[in-house]
């Protein structure tokens, strides 16, 4: 089943490379600079980001024993958006990684503030963490709207960024994102059994031999880094981290040793599909991929929930 999914993903990547503002046949594609310079990095980026967001969503949902946690609730994305907005307004978008770098910094800062508020001694208080994350997210999106209204002329660039896009994916982005993503995903999967035990409860996990606080800290650092790098490369793509692990859980069960690999592959496939649609549907113009993930994902997910309800 996993092998089939990997093959599907590879086939979809190849197919996606052929489609776009200009279509290619298999023969032409390898000689085309559009393929090498635009399509391939874009496809790789969407796959990496989909995998990262889903892996992190699945991990957060187990760590916090809360179905509503995803990379965005914890303030990573809003922090990154604010950084990116400020960078765009300062004219840093001319510099390579100017916007991305600011986004990364600001995401880390936001997460640090949230963790700081939510930790008691060396323990993390989940409810406080989530509530702080939600309030800061709201505060920051209000700040961004405010900045947008004050700066009409840059509005398009900011909107493009806050809704997410792979249109500017380039090899330098991939070279930075890929190692972070692969290392981070490896760290998360290394802890799959700990994540299962954490689902029973922090104290139960501790009494079954998990160094709970150390494991949580390691996972939070790894996931925050991954998401921050992903968001700073392509902007905010909502919904994936929340929905993909839930949808997979309905089919594959809660065991993280199955859930994580399936979520990662399905997440990659899902974001790839949405991005392909985003650049194909209204070609040669583009739709924001962040809105497509919601338009495609929400009805699908609600259908799965409804179908699952009936089976009880």
């Amino acid at each position: 089943m996993l092998t089939a999914l990997v093959l599907t993903l590879l086939a979809a990547m190849a197919g996606s490379c052929m489609l776009g503002a200009v279509d290619f046949s298999l023969q032409d594609i390898l000689h085309s600079p559009i393929f090498w310079q635009l399509r391939l990095p874009r496809v790789l980026m969407s796959v990496l980001v989909g995998a990262v967001l889903s892996a992190c969503g699945a991990a957060y949902q187990s760590i916090f024993r809360n179905p509503l946690t995803d990379p965005y609730v914890l303030g990573v994305s809003s922090g990154a958006s604010l950084g990116a907005t400020v960078a765009i307004l300062m004219g840093l978008d001319a510099v390579l990684w100017g916007v991305g770098g600011m986004a990364l910094l600001s995401a880390q800062l936001t997460v640090a503030v949230i963790y700081r508020i939510a930790s008691i001694g060396n323990r993390m208080h989940t409810t406080t963490l989530l509530l702080t994350g939600v309030s800061l997210t709201l505060l920051i999106s209000a700040l961004i709207s405010f900045l947008m209204v004050l700066n009409h002329e840059k509005m398009d660039a900011i909107i493009f960024w806050t809704m997410g896009s792979f249109a500017h994916a380039s090899w330098p982005d991939i070279v930075i994102l890929a190692p972070v993503a692969l290392a981070g995903i490896a760290v998360v999967m290394w802890h799959s059994r700990d994540l299962n035990l954490l689902l029973v409860g922090s104290e139960e996990a501790q009494s079954m031999g998990v160094e709970v606080e150390r494991v949580k800290r390691t996972l939070l650092i790894a996931t925050t880094l991954m998401v921050a790098f992903a968001v700073s490369a392509c902007g905010v793509i909502g919904f994936v981290g929340l929905i993909v692990p839930h949808a997979v859980r309905l089919v594959a069960g809660a065991d993280n040793r199955r859930l994580l690999p399936y979520s990662i592959l399905i997440g990659a496939l899902f974001v790839l599909l949405c991005d392909t649609l985003a650049r194909y549907l209204l070609r040669p113009s583009e739709l924001p991929v962040g809105s497509l993930t919601s338009i495609v994902g929400a009805p699908l997910f609600i259908y799965l929930l409804y179908k699952n309800k009936k089976s009880y």
């Binding site: 409860g201 104290e203 009494s207 160094e211």
Partner: protein, 248 residues
């Protein structure tokens, strides 16, 4: 054998346990009793390594528990909490299998050996027929027994249980206490319990807590007297024929 040496624990300025010196022997079922908030749960959590003492120490077989890692402590002490997670999307078999975690390596799957242990623990607790059921489909008593099976799968010489019978009807209460009596051979079992008569008839020893100190530690039959019950709970009782009667 667990030894508490001048064990003290405080939440901020509120002292819960104030210098407890007690030794729990093996093959005994000990009731930890006392009024709400007297520190029963705190004591169990300290022994389970879930809290760190403010001062004093806990040793298991002479070794302080601070020198154990979470993994090696989980091979010595199993802990069943009072509240059970009912929303868990794992089958009873998978839950009991989690008890094997302290013996497994990260990249290794469960072995036939682990599966055999899980089956015998589930048979011992009469939960084998529930192996495919999820917590949401079980009664409180069934889930409690599954969680005990999970603790047994850890194969520890020490078993701690926080109010294992508080939410159960009388038939299930007796059922669980009988089960614990069959398990006590070569184990040290400590349970926090409220029902005076149930404890009197099923446990061997009593640790009665009051004001952060041990009001009594020893055989329960000699220790649970009307005088001590008055001090610990502030109620009047009479003891006749090994039964405690309350004045309502």
């Amino acid at each position: 054998m667990i030894s508490l040496q001048h064990l003290t624990f405080a939440y901020g300025t509120r002292t819960i346990l104030d210098g407890i010196d007690v030794t729990f022997a093996s093959s005994r079922l000990t009731a930890i009793m006392g009024a709400n908030g007297c520190g029963k749960t705190t004591l169990l959590r300290l022994i389970g390594g879930l809290l760190t003492p403010t001062s004093g120490q806990i040793t298991i077989g002479g070794t302080p528990i601070t020198s154990y890692s979470a993994r090696t402590l989980a091979q010595q002490v199993a802990f069943v909490r009072q509240q059970q997670p009912t929303d868990l999307d794992f089958s009873a078999f998978e839950i009991v299998l989690m008890g094997r975690n302290p013996y497994q390596h990260r990249l290794q799957n469960e072995s036939q050996h682990d599966w055999d242990i899980v089956e015998s623990c589930m048979r011992q607790t009469s939960t084998w027929h529930l192996r495919f059921a999820r917590p949401s489909q079980m009664s409180g008593g069934e889930l409690q027994r599954v969680m005990i099976a999970r603790a047994l799968a850890q194969q520890t010489p020490i078993l701690l249980m926080d109010e294992p019978v508080s939410n159960l009807d009388i038939a299930h209460q007796i059922d669980i206490m009988r089960l614990l009596r069959t398990l006590k051979a070569e184990r040290t079992i400590l349970i926090a319990i409220h029902d005076l008569n149930l404890a009197l008839h099923t446990c061997d020893d009593l640790l009665l807590l009051h004001g952060g100190r041990a009001l009594y530690h020893g055989e329960i039959r000699c220790g649970l007297t009307p005088d001590r019950i008055r001090i610990a709970y502030g109620i009047e009782t009479t003891a006749n024929d090994g039964h405690i009667a309350f004045a309502y």
